[in-house]
Amino acid sequence: MIYGKGTLGLLLMMRINKNNVFLSLFLCMIMSHIHAIDSGLAFNDPELQQRYETLISEIRCLVCQNQSIKSSNVFLAVDLRNEVRIMISEGKSNKEIADFLADRYGEFILYRPRFKSSTVFIWLAPFIFLIIGLFVVFKVVRKKILTQ
C-alpha cells in the first residue's frame, strides 16, 4: 500500500527477475494503466462527458473482444469513440446510439443487449430460473412438512 502498485511490481520483479513470465505479468500491469490516446475530455460539459464515458464503456471492441472501446486503442475503437462523441453532440439519445451500432455490427457490440425478440430469453432467463427455483423449494419444503 505504501509503495503503490508500480513499486510493488518492481520489487516483485527484482526478486524473480530470472523468470520471463513475471516480467510479462509486470508489463501487463503497467500496460493496463496506460490511458487511451484520446483520453483528454471529449466534452466540456461534465454531464455529457459522463454520458460519453458510460456509453463507450458499454460498447464492445470487436477486434479485441473482451475489451470495451473505452479501453482499447485499436483504430476501430478510436473511430467508434469518435462516432459516439459526434452523435452525442448532435443530440442523439443513448437508445439512438445503441441502435446505430447494433444495426451495423449486431447485438454483440453492446455489453447490455437491447430488449427485443432475439434477446428476450437473456433478459427473462433469471426470472424464469428464480420461479423454477422457488417452485422446487416450495415442493421440497412441503414434502418435508407432510412427511413429518
Binding site: L62, L76, D79, E83, R104, Y105, G106, E107
Partner: protein
Amino acid sequence: MPIFFIGLDRDKSVLPSPLIGKKIPEFTLPSLINSELQIDSSEMLSNTFLFNVWATWCAGCLEEHEFLMKLSESNEIPIVGLNWRDNHNDALAWLRDYGNPYTIIAEDVSGRVAIDWGVYGAPESFLVDSNGIIVHKHLGPLDDDIWERDFRAIINDAN
C-alpha cells in the same frame, strides 16, 4: 444443461452481420486510382458484385490477393474494392506490385463508410445482388473452397 453447450463449437470471432438481407449502405467516396472521380454507391447497383474491404496493413488481404486476381480474370463477377483507412501511396504501390483485381476502388481514409458496413476486420467480402441487397458476408481471406461453397451457389441462384 444441454443449453450450455449450444454454440460452444462456434467460432466466437466470426459474428453474423445484421446487414444481410438489407440494402447496401449508401456512400460517395473518391476513387483510389483517380482522386478527382467520385464513386457513388448507387451507380454500382443493377448487377451482382463483390464488395471487398482491404488495406495494405492487412496480412489476410495479401493472402487472398492471388484468389481475387484469378476471380477478376475469370470475369465471373465485378469486384468493388473499399480501401480502408490506408495510406494512399502505399495502396497504389500495392496494386502496382501485386496487380489490380478491382473494377473500381473507393478510398475510405476516415473509416466512416466502413462503420456503415459494420466492418471490423479486413479482409471482409460482401456479396451484393442486382437489387443492391447484401446476400452474404465473409470475414477473412477468400479462397477457391470458400468461393465454391459459400458464394457460387448464391450467384447462380441470383442469375
